[in-house]
Symmetry: C2
Subunit: 214 residues, 2 copies
């Protein structure tokens, strides 16, 4: 059995992915400036020059980390239309975002720091794409409002509300851990998700889908 396709820079692909993981974690814990290439190299058990062999500059490495983050952030809400059920769609979106917070906390943190610091390192195209996405989702929310399917409110603020309350569980995990004295378990996340779904859906005057009632 040959393994041609596998062998083409297979090792390179693996190393790159190891470096990207180490970098993601390091950037989340220390910020862009607070992370040195040496730290990433150490975390990946590689010499510094090897990291620079795969990623020409620190900025380039950071950019790729950021890109890999944004790839993970697709959700079922992307395809929701005005014909879909608001309660189900919003509940699923909240649950999706909470799942991302649980499984990819470092991604959320790196993104958060980037935005807090002004998003200077985000490519303009990424910002524009996001703007388009938001416009589309707001259109759906407005259609629901017009059809009296959800309460009247500024849809923009509803989106911010969902983003902030779900991402909080990733970004502020250290504070949450400190307050409870232990890490959030999977069960805790389920309870938190159901609480959020209930709070937000009731806030919009919607019934909570059965699957989100604990």
């Amino acid at each position: 059995m040959k393994e041609r396709s596998k062998s083409i820079s297979n090792i390179g692909v693996k190393r790159r992915s190891i470096i990207l993981s180490a970098a993601l974690r390091a950037f989340a814990d220390n910020g862009y400036k607070g992370t040195s290439i040496q730290m990433i190299a150490d975390a990946a058990s590689l010499p510094k020059t090897n990291v620079l062999y795969y990623f020409a500059t620190k900025k380039a490495l950071y950019s790729e980390v950021m890109q890999s983050i944004l790839l993970k952030w697709n959700s079922s809400f992307d395809e929701v239309t005005a014909d879909d059920c608001p309660a189900q769609s919003l509940a699923n979106y909240i649950a999706d975002k909470m799942e991302t917070s649980r499984t990819h906390p470092y991604s959320s943190k790196v993104f958060a720091i980037e935005i807090i610091n002004g998003g200077q390192n985000l490519e303009e195209s990424v910002k524009e794409d996001n703007k388009i996405w938001v416009k589309g989702r707001i259109a759906v929310l407005e259609a629901w409002i017009a059809a009296h399917k959800i309460e009247m409110l500024n849809p923009e603020y509803l989106l911010y509300h969902i983003w902030s309350s779900t991402q909080h569980y990733a970004d502020f995990s250290s504070q949450i851990r400190q307050l409870r004295g232990r890490e959030m378990t999977d069960e805790d996340f389920t309870e938190a998700t159901n609480t959020l779904v209930k709070l937000i859906l009731k806030g919009c005057g919607l019934q909570v889908p059965a699957q989100y009632i604990s």
Copy 2:
């Protein structure tokens, strides 16, 4: 009229406060590591050594910035008891936090970055104080739940919900600005506050106080 008390190192007090302001802003925009003493000195129109004259080390300066932040974060919710009206108390708390986001965005950002990065630079006593505060507030919320004044839910998650959704307007202001194409005005903040109050209070099964209906 003499001015004895005023003259004692008056200039020092002023300089220190100017440096602290410049440092707050710089830390918010660039993170701890991303901020150099030189940057702060430039922003304060002082030579670098002058900054180090007032603050022995960068860490010491950062600590003082952090302390000044936490001082600003008192709110009427601190004194709320089980006898108070949940709807009014929670609505006021949300409005207080939104007002802090509006008037002290840099403080919120520096604090957020600190927590996201693990809170390594926060003194243990600060964390303990916060833990005690949270315990006290949770006790009040539990009393409200027991008295059927608000819906049954995990009070901890309600607190996180309020923190995250209000602080979002400070921390993620660059994203919000990008999406709307302009800064949030005071009127926008009022609308956002009222929207949040409505969402969260309805979520808890409470009536929105008249003053928060736009």
